[in-house]
Symmetry: C2
Subunit: 130 residues, 2 copies
């Protein structure tokens, strides 16, 4: 797998914050994914790609009670290809740290968690934020 | 002022979290704003628009330690027009709550805070998240 080109220019599905990782994230989608979200289409069609850059959560130096992105921790993504990834709900999962793929052990943890928690949403946690 | 059309399709500058408002936000920019960010151009050129939807921060029902967008609280934006808004650093400020502009008292609080805290960044708090 390679990081999808130009993902930083994609549209926003939603944002999230994770306390245990002390991170702030944005979830971006390619055109196929955004169209599916906006038309409430499930399962996502083949070709849909979601990408989630996770930044360290840091205190704003300029405004109280506010947290902003620090350094980029990693970039996760999910690619829908119902044949290629049939054994993992039709999704391929990837994590890149400093531009390089994480090891296989990390990737092996992705699907089991999505499978247990969000099977009814085509294995995708993120909902579209209006 | 009216809400800029199609802003939800704009690219992402960064995200933020505010504890005192218990909110998660994304900061989006139109093409002029994104080009300025990516080329480190300050001040922002006329025509740059930044928009910030703020959602209620709610616990994910599906994953521990994780917070996601709840309802949309309001949408803030800044429009650069150095002549029209000369008295407020070249920026016009707007907040919309359920599609309707907030009252004048709310708007009067925008610039003073930006002026005090981020004068050296053309009155804009948000930095581009890589």
């Amino acid at each position: 797998m390679t990081i999808p080109k130009g993902y930083r220019n994609w549209q926003t599905v939603a944002v999230s914050q994770r306390d245990d990782k002390d991170s702030l994230r944005v979830i971006l989608g390619n055109d196929i994914a955004m169209k599916a979200y906006r038309s409430n289409t499930l399962p996502f069609p083949d070709g849909a790609v979601l990408v989630k850059p996770s930044w360290k959560r840091v205190k704003s130096a300029e405004f109280d009670n506010t947290f902003v992105p620090g350094g980029l921790m990693w970039v996760d993504f999910m690619v829908k290809n119902s044949k290629k990834y049939a054994s993992t709900g039709g999704w391929g999962f990837g994590r890149f740290i400093e531009g390089k793929p994480a090891d296989e052990k990390v990737h092996a943890t992705c699907f089991p968690c999505h499978q247990v928690n969000v099977k009814d949403h085509d294995f995708v946690f993120t909902r579209y934020a209006p």
